[in-house]
Symmetry: C2
Subunit: 376 residues, 2 copies
């Protein structure tokens, strides 16, 4: 994996670049749709390619490890072959799901013992086996196994957890560097900065992560309930330390406004379940603002969902029709809303990229943040 | 609406034809996907057109009347404009849903009083207002308001019900013939043959329906639990009486085998929720037989779902991937299975049409009935 830094904004830390992987290029800044169990919920792979224009999608190691399981994924020749998505894939380390989804879990220095949320079966994740699992899944970018601290989190716990995450990181690196990809293409390991909302911990963690010299770096443990301003403060502090010539990935962020603000802080890659999860709950993100599709207001508004977004669903279906499908709990409502929201997110980062290139990012960003945050 | 009878099979009553409507032609025999509340569940309109190659879809008057309601549909300019489906649409009369879905209902000579299954609100359907409702929805083919008797049904009840259905039919005809379509195109009324599984009633009803001289005729009250042989017997008896130069629509039928057998009996049009409903439950109809996608058997079968079916999903996704999505309860499983099953149904009737034209229908039909009925 290579990163080519292209443009840097004069009035902010925003930048554009290209991440080159064996499955193709990723133009940054980029948003990565979340394909939890090998499927971006309610979205066909063809729609990801031609409507949403996704350049990379995520897979969740925890989910894929439990279902379909590594035996199936290996027999398939990896996740790309299994789900038919031939562009880049990133997998998380499973840590976040182990802490948020799994039943009784026990964290030790060695790793985490947990019970499957599906059938209660017992499993163990360690830095070493999570690297092996991600080798079997075969993502282009794989993530270090870390502990994602909750918010709020006491300083003492945050510090100890960060230190363990750093020790785990060394073990991840050792494991990755002593093994090879299983399917003939390379896999880049991204370490993750932790440290909760404590500046000195974040600084220490960012420095440690930077010192590892990997092909890209991630910021974890944010967007877990802390105020947005705190998230921006931590992000800024960390991006000041992480190397400029490596892509920076802010994990699990966020709203359209969050993404624009964090692009301004020098983040290159984002992922979040919000566009798809909120779509399934009838919330639409558009170039004009946020729509609750259950609202009576859309009942006889036969105008297209969002003609500014160059996706079939956004111009083909009307607000009134989508409102009807949403109220009637039709599956098609989730499909339309998911494709639209992701198309909007990808449109937003593509626009940001163009504005950075044109030197117009700062002014545009402030206008867009207002626009995309308002309730219609 | 016009019907042009094209070919008639020498060894069966199967025939091919074209139904001409103001929204385009329908090549018969045809299967009509069910778009309950203005949406074929889990299927995009674009997929209906380009993947499934549907030529006409159904809407359910009961559902559309309750949601989005006639005010919205009229403001939209009818259902075609509302859901963006510009090819022919057929609406049922709402009778079937009133009897199967609605809460407490009371049938009188005037019509049916019922409570909405959504909010318990009280409503009345009469032959007259159901015609008006279908005028507001704006389907190309509208159905007479009838009572669909259950199975089993006592002879006395079946006779009385049929007689009332006939009186209702006269009222439907009077209403339709004294009103006009609301959106500038014509709407054809199809009367419905009833009479449960009683030969003399079916004969009497078919004769009455035939005598009405409408542009097409339907057979109702079958596929409600009676043995398949009984359904075939009733269908054959009725198609012997219904005029040859009008399309014959067998309502709510059925399995792929049912459809092939009834094409052989002279039926031209079919609808059924089976391909979509069973899809959502993980049952796939293929050119090789029936697959239960939950089956362990497909776990590492990476071959395409059904390469014989010329639909994107049928060749793009593997059995193993679809099995994984089904077991994981991913929405995409319902989407893939629905598009595939409908593509298969449309492929099947298109194949039947070609075989009738080529004079090879009878032999092919017997082979196919075996093939499509077996469990893989």
């Amino acid at each position: 994996m290579k990163f080519i830094l292209e443009n840097t904004d004069q009035k902010s830390k925003a930048r554009t670049g290209v991440v080159k992987t064996d499955h193709g290029d990723i133009q940054t800044p980029i948003f990565m749709p979340v394909g939890t169990a090998g499927s971006v919920k309610a979205v066909h792979q063809r729609e990801l390619t031609y409507d949403i224009k996704a350049q990379i999608i995520l897979g969740n190691t925890y989910h894929l490890y439990l279902r379909p399981g590594l035996d199936v994924l290996e027999k398939a020749g990896g996740l790309h072959k299994f789900n038919g998505w031939n562009k880049p894939i990133l997998t998380d380390s499973g840590g976040y799901q182990v802490f948020s989804l799994a039943g009784t879990r026990k964290i030790t220095e060695e790793g985490v013992l947990f019970k499957s949320h599906i059938d209660g079966s017992k499993h163990k994740f360690t830095p070493e086996n999570v690297m092996d699992i991600q080798r079997s899944i075969g993502a282009d970018i794989i993530m270090a196994f870390d502990e994602c601290t909750p918010y709020p989190c006491e300083f003492g716990y945050a510090r100890k957890s960060m230190e363990m995450t750093h020790r785990w990181l060394k073990r991840c690196i050792d494991q990755v560097d002593s093994t090879e990809g299983k399917y003939g293409y390379s896999q880049a390991l991204f370490p993750i900065v932790q440290g909760s909302v404590y500046k000195d911990l974040r600084k220490q963690s960012a420095e440690f992560v930077a010192s590892c010299g990997r092909e890209g770096n991630a910021i974890g443990g944010l967007s877990v309930g802390e105020p947005a301003e705190m998230m921006y403060e931590m992000t800024e502090l960390v991006t000041d330390i992480l190397p400029e010539d490596k892509p920076r990935y802010l994990m699990g962020v966020g709203t359209p406004a969050n993404i624009l603000e964090c692009i301004a802080l020098g983040v290159d890659m984002f992922d979040c379940v919000m566009p798809t999860r909120n779509a399934r709950n009838g919330m639409l993100f558009t170039s004009e603002g946020i729509m609750n599709m259950r609202n009576e207001k859309w009942k006889d508004d036969f105008s297209p969902i969002d003609p500014n977004i160059n996706s079939h669903v956004s111009s083909f279906y009307s607000k009134a029709y989508l409102r009807h499908l949403t109220v009637s709990k039709e599956i098609l409502a989730a499909q339309i809303a998911s494709v639209h929201n992701l198309s909007f997110y990808l449109w937003l980062v593509a626009e940001a990229r163009e504005k950075i290139k044109a030197g117009e990012f700062a002014v545009w960003k402030d206008e867009m943040v207002k626009k995309v945050s308002r309730r219609l």
